[in-house]
Symmetry: C2
């Protein structure tokens, strides 16, 4: 199984880059893993929030394979405990899913089409985080899930 | 009002240090703010988890002033939305609290005495995070709370 992290927006800011690199490297010991930072469309400044979401949604949907299991990070999604996230991954691994994609939407969220396409909607927390920090938290939690599923001691940094 | 962040354990790891410095500097535009990293006791390796918590608890309680408002980060605490954290801070500011202390406990949590002393117990998320990452999330959320209370646009990085 391969994991992909997709995030709409700018490249990683310095304050999260090292941590994201660290946890992504660790995840790579369990799964093939890749980040895709999707730049917002060039004319984003002149688009309404709704139109921007639709444009970004098209890019996302075009990049998805039919069998991809899409986990959308969404504040209206389900709150999970770390063990529950581990189970979500384990289940996908068991049913021979080829690719799991974690998607962090754009500044205004994602389009209805993307929400409909999502196989699972996950809310990290009741707190609102900047998307840059969401990337770091996501990488750390997926690494944690990998260690939980292998019954390994979590390696603190 | 002054804010203090207390955390038991090691100094900030590289992967969180820059972000913590960034958000702490921003908080300093609203409140006097200070971090106190409390090293675990020297004989921690030979102590049981329970005895370690008691030893650490003594250090914490010795450092507290009677009027300090102690917010303990505790997974059994209350989940807050970012706006609710802002209200907690605003309320303390309004009632002339001199010092609010956010406490991140040690590897095994904190002693019963510290739990009893806490004025508020706050659970960041249903997810388990490494304490280093908790420091960064805490700094970001307190900065966010400051901007909410001043009706300011959150400055993304």
């Amino acid at each position: 199984m391969q994991l992909q992290f997709w995030s709409i927006g700018k490249k990683n800011e310095a304050y999260v880059a090292e941590g994201i690199a660290l946890f992504t490297k660790r995840i790579s010991h369990y799964y093939k893993v890749e980040w895709k930072i999707i730049a917002t469309t060039k004319n984003s400044a002149v688009l309404s929030a709704e139109d921007l979401k639709i444009e970004e949604g098209k890019i996302i949907l075009n990049n998805l394979q039919k069998d991809d299991y899409l986990i959308l990070l969404d504040e209206r999604g389900k709150n999970l405990q770390s063990e529950e996230l581990a189970k979500v991954l384990q289940k996908r691994n068991n049913d021979s899913t080829k690719q799991v994609i974690f998607l962090i939407g754009g500044a205004f969220g994602v389009s209805d089409e993307v929400i409909k396409r999502a196989n699972f909607k996950w809310s990290l927390s009741n707190l609102v985080f900047p998307h840059q920090l969401v990337r770091l938290i996501l990488a750390e939690q997926v690494y944690r899930a990998c260690t939980i599923n292998k019954n390994e001691k979590y390696h603190h940094v």
